[in-house]
């Protein structure tokens, strides 16, 4: 089998993994080595595929052969599909040559489970060692830690990679039991805990000894599949929050379930992937990480799912009208951040600008505030925006109308850009 065909099979099998970032590691170039990992804090997107997702890393599987039979997965044992495997040398050369040409920021290496988790991880370690040592690759590596791998091997993997991830995939134990009978919650959480502790330990050692080996300097991430099971948004968001808090994850990724197989336990193959739902979850995830929100504020037991027509921040604001309007010229940073249409950048600019100037509504737009959303929730110099008419009962409808333009025109649930509605 030639390299082109292998690459096709093994990237096709890896494409459902949402994680594709190169953030968090800062390593300058070193003499005699190839590349660095310090392009910018937010990582670096090298291209965008036809589905609008960012391509940062060469995302491939080591092999798509697998002994497991997870119902939702294209690579499951019982699926009749062509199998392939990279040799470590092939993979290293491909990574280096793509990297030199600035196609990618590094390698994302995952794998189907060959024989058992330990054997598979050993294969991955061998490939990464050749890439790091024989080919002197100094760029970004994201590696998958496979649940059930012994701790020594996870340690070794973490010393070669910048980021590790263990995919939770199914948000609940019940889902796991029915769809992924070979995996258990405990087996998934064990390596996560180990990675968390090793990262903390490695950071502490680096403070004391400059040349201490660094373990996964960019931390760990995970992925949750949305829409394969009946779990509510509220359940998923609470899980996300506890993953951030308990395991200090850098990112939780959501992947709208794309039906790849016919199974009575799964949505039927002609179901569209729930992209709008995925988008709302990402927005809420942003609110948790950058806006100081807690999961319990955003969704309640009575309302366990997000309103598809309005973004989570607006929904929250409508439910808490007693906290509005916010006075732009005096409110503190945290309060400004809770206003729909104002993000961290806008809030910082407001706080800075109002010290030297008297702000008017026109100025807010120049500061990066999305006024069409923010106008309902703010006063500027004690007045609301002139010409604005609304009441508590019409507000929902007005916001829905404004946001309709951001939804896909034909009503299909296409993936939206986070940046459209980041405020």
């Amino acid at each position: 089998m030639d390299l082109l065909e292998k690459l096709t099979i093994l990237s096709d099998a890896a494409k459902y993994d949402a994680a594709c970032t190169s953030s968090g590691a800062k390593r300058s170039y070193q003499v005699g080595k190839i590349g660095n990992t310090s392009s910018s804090i937010a990582g670096c997107c090298h291209s965008f595929s036809a589905d609008g997702r960012c391509i940062t890393l060469l995302k491939v599987l080591m092999t798509n052969s697998c002994v497991y039979d997870c119902k939702y997965c294209v690579n499951r044992r019982s699926n009749e599909t062509k199998r392939a495997a990279f040799t470590p040398k092939e993979l290293a050369e491909l990574t280096i040559e793509f990297y030199r040409r600035n196609y990618i920021e590094g390698l994302f290496l995952s794998s189907g489970v060959l024989r058992n988790p330990d054997y598979t991880t050993e294969q991955m370690i061998r490939a990464l060692r050749i890439l790091r040592h024989d080919y002197a690759f100094n760029g970004y590596i994201h590696a998958k830690a496979i649940p059930g791998t012994s701790p020594e091997l996870v340690t070794e993997l973490g010393l070669l990679a910048d980021r590790l991830s263990v995919n939770v995939e199914l948000p609940s134990e019940a889902g796991l039991q029915s769809l992924a009978p070979d995996k258990t919650k405990a087996a998934i959480l064990r390596p996560m805990g180990q990675i968390r502790d090793s990262v903390v330990q490695s950071k502490a050692e680096l403070v004391k000894y400059r040349h201490a080996p660094s373990f996964a300097p960019a931390g760990q991430s995970t992925q949750l599949i949305v829409g394969a099971t009946a779990d509510s948004d509220r359940h998923i968001l609470h899980l996300t929050e506890s993953l951030y808090q308990r395991f200090r994850l850098k990112r939780v990724f959501y992947s709208a379930y794309v039906p790849v197989v016919e199974n009575t336990l799964l949505p039927s193959p002609d179901t569209k992937p729930p992209l709008l739902r995925e988008h709302r979850l990402y927005q809420a995830d942003w609110l948790l990480r950058f806006y100081g929100f807690r999961a319990e504020e955003l969704l309640t037991e009575e309302q366990p799912d997000f309103n598809p027509l309005i973004d989570p921040k607006c929904s929250w604001a409508i439910g808490h009208l007693e906290q509005f309007p916010v006075e732009i010229t005096t409110a503190d940073y945290e309060t400004l951040l809770r206003v729909p249409g104002i993000g961290p950048v806008g809030a910082k600019r407001i706080v800075s600008a109002r010290r030297v100037s008297h702000l008017r509504f026109e100025d807010l737009q120049k500061l990066g505030v999305v006024l069409k959303r923010a106008q309902f929730f703010i006063t500027c110099g004690g007045r609301i925006r002139s010409g604005l008419r609304f009441s508590a009962s019409t507000l929902v409808h007005q916001l829905e109308t404004i946001q309709r333009g951001e939804l896909p025109p034909d009503g299909t649930m296409a993936q939206l850009s986070l940046f459209d509605t980041a405020g």
Binding site: G32, R53, L94
Partner: protein, 280 residues
């Protein structure tokens, strides 16, 4: 002598522009327009400003004394493609001289905002190009072409010199005809009017084909979304990106340069200039 309505003509360089500021203070006049071209026909009086390194330094020092970050904003904004660039920059410099840097805290300030906006636009382009630049291996030397709106090469320089520290490479800015050269720890930017690229080798074509295949495969069919793709990667970037070009695109341009290049199969350099790696 002071004119009421005068146009300043200078050499288009940043030093030249600083000298315009110098001249306007010396002559106590407020230029209504600037021209960075050699030729300038106008009904207004034209003052030819000759670039003088000492004058430029004096102005820069003065600006830095008022506000170091203000001077930096001016330096950066000069690289942008905003309309009436010099007029906006001139107004900004005057305000900095008369009031100091306090107004920089307010991004909605009427003099500062146009510059802040243009710089944001340029920073966005730099950020994108860090990822979208596509090198080809021309016999050991990496080469890339870009078509940016802003003059971004000085801002991409440190990023690529760090990332490709152990390579020899060049990046050509087709819009502004600037060429960034790097080899052995040293880099410089030259003006080059025309750059003809060599034909790619067999290995280069092979890797291009692999990349194109990866690019097509990684997209999930059920999620195809051109609108989102266009938001993140506007179409204007795509005509220098490998995944949107035929694997042997140099051969398809015009027959004559291709033939001329084929006549010198051994040389690694793009036509006309020595490749950085071969400088002896």
């Amino acid at each position: 002598m002071a004119w009421d309505e005068v146009i300043y003509q200078y050499d288009g360089s940043f030093e030249g522009f600083l000298c315009c500021i110098y001249e306007s203070y010396i002559n106590k006049e407020f230029p209504i327009a600037f021209s960075g071209d050699e030729e300038c026909f106008s009904l207004y009086a034209v003052r030819c400003v000759i670039t003088d390194a000492d004058h430029a330094r004096r102005v820069m020092r003065g600006l830095e004394n008022r506000s170091a970050s203000g001077a930096n904003v001016l330096r950066r904004a000069f690289l942008t493609c905003m309309e009436d660039k010099e007029a906006h920059l001139y107004a900004f410099a005057r305000k900095l001289f008369s009031q100091g840097g306090a107004f920089l805290k307010n991004q909605s300030d009427e003099v500062y905002h146009p510059l802040a906006k243009a710089i944001r636009h340029m920073n966005g382009e730099v950020e994108k190009l860090r990822g979208f630049v596509r090198f080809s291996d021309y016999g050991g030397v990496l080469g890339a072409e870009i078509e940016p709106k802003n003059r971004v090469l000085p801002l991409l320089r440190s990023h690529f010199c760090n990332r490709c520290a152990n390579e020899a490479f060049f990046i050509y800015d087709r819009t502004h005809k600037d060429l960034l050269l790097y080899s052995g720890g040293r880099s410089r930017i030259l003006r080059v009017d025309r750059l003809d690229l060599n034909l790619p080798g067999e290995e280069e074509v092979h890797y291009r084909a692999l990349w194109k295949r990866f690019y097509e495969t990684i997209a999930i069919k059920e999620r195809i979304n051109p609108r989102l793709q266009d938001t993140h990667m506007p179409k204007r970037y795509r005509n220098t990106m490998t995944e949107f070009l035929p694997a042997d695109h140099e051969c398809r341009k015009s027959a004559i340069p291709a033939k001329a290049a084929a006549a010198f199969p051994g040389s690694a350099a793009p036509g006309g200039i020595p490749a950085p790696g071969t400088l002896r």
